[in-house]
Subunit: 191 residues, 2 copies
DNA sequence: CAGGATGTCTAGCGTTGCTAGAGTGCCGTC
DNA sequence: GACGGCACTCTAGCAACGCTAGACATCCTG
């Protein structure tokens, strides 16, 4: 492979990422309804069709943003978990980190978890998402046979709290109180 | 007011509801992305502009469907709660009823809780939604000072379980197990 | 230096939510 | 009972959307 081709591919990869970050920034500042292919193309200073040489369509761009987000979420949760060694506090820290992540990047969080994408099971298909959830699982002892189930329920609760607060359906204050209650009740498990 | 005018208004109210139910049926059979103003107009056998004489726009139609859903959800939960007199079992029954509702009418549930509407705080503005949530609150003893908070967290968890299962992010089987765990852990509260 | 492949752009298609203005028919008044 | 006016509905069209075809330019290869 020639040197030129390598450079081309490198530039292409850069532009690929540029599109993703541009879409994300546009969504974070003006909301996803403002992310149109025209505005996005203008933002990356190319014409519309180049978007389609990188992604199969707009949905694929949103999905790419979401996958980026999964990786960041996993890192964010891992950092929180390792900061506290006590398992009980670790769960608390991870849960708080999850809610912080959702609240500080609402648009990114939407792309990851509420917008209609076909990112399915939190498993092999998207290892970053699997890794993020595993951070919750890891807060329980390895010999806990039901820790997978516990993590699913805690994740669900966190997700519910995040989206219902974001849409104003539950009052945004008292999030800390809700978090305390959730962890207190779900942390000490019978088994 | 003349008799004719009354009849007109009655017919108009009927058509109003016809639009709402048509939108809902279309969404439930083909998904919300298939609900366009043209298809909806064709379905109610009128031209597009009549929709705008009833609703300010498509969003308002979705919101009307959602509000209808809130009322149904409230009735559904109330029925479940009153079937069991034991408070502990009542909470279990209400939670199961909530998940059933979400799973059996996914499109309606989406309009109510995931699509971007400006239905805000679960309070005065939309009494039907408030009534639905109060069914969860009512599962706790009136002298429980924190029952409002408990209900919010349980609602959040139920919502999370519902949407993550619907989008295939957590395996759809074992919903019963998750429900059991949730109720067992959150039902007996310290206070 | 020509030929071909690669890559980008202009232009446009079909569909979307929504609206203006024409047309129609029904009502209440004299 | 004819008529003027009003309420109502429809046809037609706008701007913006996601997406694509085909022309044009640019660069590497033989």
């Amino acid at each position: 492979m020639s040197v030129v081709k390598e450079r081309r591919e490198r530039e292409r990869a850069q532009r690929h990422q540029l599109i993703i970050t541009a879409a994300r920034e546009l969504a974070e500042t003006e909301g996803w309804e403002a992310v149109t292919t025209r505005r996005l193309a203008e933002r990356v200073e190319y014409s519309q069709p180049v978007l389609y040489s990188h992604f199969s369509g707009k949905d694929a761009i949103v999905r790419a943003v979401a996958i980026d987000g999964f990786g960041e979420l996993a890192a964010h949760l891992r950092r929180a978990r390792l900061a506290d060694s006590e398992p009980r506090q670790a769960l608390h820290a991870v849960c708080r980190a999850y809610l912080d992540f959702a609240i500080e990047r609402p648009a990114l969080y939407q792309a990851m978890f509420v917008m209609p994408t076909d990112v399915k099971i939190a498993d092999a298909e998207t290892p970053q998402l699997r890794a993020a959830i595993d951070e919750i699982v890891s807060c329980f002892r390895p010999d806990n046979a039901r820790r997978e189930l516990f993590a699913e329920v805690i994740w669900s609760a966190l997700h519910g709290i995040a989206v219902l607060a974001d849409s104003g359906r539950i009052p945004p204050h008292r999030q800390e109180e809700r978090l305390d209650f959730l962890v207190t009740q779900l942390a000490d498990t019978p088994s």
